[in-house]
Symmetry: C2
Subunit: 274 residues, 2 copies
Amino acid sequence: MIISKDNQRIKHIRQLLGSKKTREADRLFVIEGRKPVDEAIREGLVEEVYVSEDYEGEVPDDAQVVGAKLFKDITDTVTPQGILAIVRMPKFDRESVYAGADCKLICLEDVRDPGNVGTVIRTAEAAGFDAVVLSEECADIFQPKVVRSTMGSILRVPCFRCGDRVGTGSVGAEQDRDSQETLEKKLRGFDIELAELKRRGFTLYAAHLEGAVDYTEPKYAGKTAILIGNEARGLTDRVTECADVAVKIPMFGKVESLNASVAAAVLMFNSNRN
Amino acid sequence: MIISKDNQRIKHIRQLLGSKKTREADRLFVIEGRKPVDEAIREGLVEEVYVSEDYEGEVPDDAQVVGAKLFKDITDTVTPQGILAIVRMPKFDRESVYAGADCKLICLEDVRDPGNVGTVIRTAEAAGFDAVVLSEECADIFQPKVVRSTMGSILRVPCFRCGDRVGTGSVGAEQDRDSQETLEKKLRGFDIELAELKRRGFTLYAAHLEGAVDYTEPKYAGKTAILIGNEARGLTDRVTECADVAVKIPMFGKVESLNASVAAAVLMFNSNRN
């Protein structure tokens, strides 16, 4: 049983919970709770399982036992369930996902609240969407709060982070004219990605308070990408302009906007109706 | 300028932030941030305004200035905006709200996450719903996290908490047969409230994973109450049985359920379409 906080494995769990850099370098993250751990095992993504010494469930094979006090200290949750796993980041192929004739994407621009990002991933799976596309300023999808909010969907929903793409995407003629540095300033990975989606035949729907079209009007047929903006300021102008249609969810009362994950949910489920 | 943490006003703010008992006894709560404080002033609900000494906005009349360090200590937010107000709980008349011919209600049974409760209140206003009905086990609507998540809607949306009603509602013949104590055990305020809604002609729609009817089918005409259950276990059987229709939001993938505030949002906005 591990009881020392200086144990190398314990240190590694802490780093994976607290440091995006470590997660990215190791391509690993931590998932907590019985159901998510079981799902990760089924998906074949688990590296190591840890249980608290007072864990009352069935202990998986090869699980490491950790002292109760130490386990409580390392987990991020207020009421830890006594089981966690180190899990490999699932791999999904962008090309083949985007190639689907009826591919449906939900694209988040700078959605910063971990609960919102996690809830969108969970809702995307429920609404049958094929992937979530995230700008580099979004909350990191492998941080503990996001992972928890996805309720396991993080293992199954392809999430494409555009930060990975800065300067690497093909942006046509412009790339030849500008130095790489200028290009990176001008075009974020997210902008490159949206431009690419348009070239691939996606129709881009921007969720916008001033949208010209009621959200229930479009048919959302064929390749569809729904764009959701930051909690405080919505979509940036350049992303809105890049979209084919700006759709509006009509609101009553004095409400200025909807919660980002609520807007995403209303638009995703609505798109299934048409 | 107030700089002592032992100042009586400061102690009162702390109590209002941290204690439901104090909030209930005083019928007051705390709202933070410029926009919500301005709205509370407009609604005529503000008792006292406090600003941090380093607050950069326009300081409202009669605002008390608080030392920057002390202000940071008392507020609940990670990034305080330097302004808060003690606000009277808004009063709404249940009778007149329920009397509306097209009254639309969203009813929460034991929704415990403050973010979910606040988001439902915000979404209810946006979707034009008339009130939110809450079982006594729901998160307290005047706790800081709920207030923050409502983004000001807490001031405008009638919220009826059923804990207030235990044992006081008329429940017909049963009340005569049972002692008051037995009655309180058998019937929670929430159950009494739902029974009363039925008598008043409301159609009750239970959001349920095993619902017999697709959520897009009903017309949601006339007096409508949509019932949403607890995050982990959904609606209790007795509440589901009390409902007129159990509606299901069809889900893809391996998702077991939707986030409570997402389910509420999808159902509320959908009901406006029919």
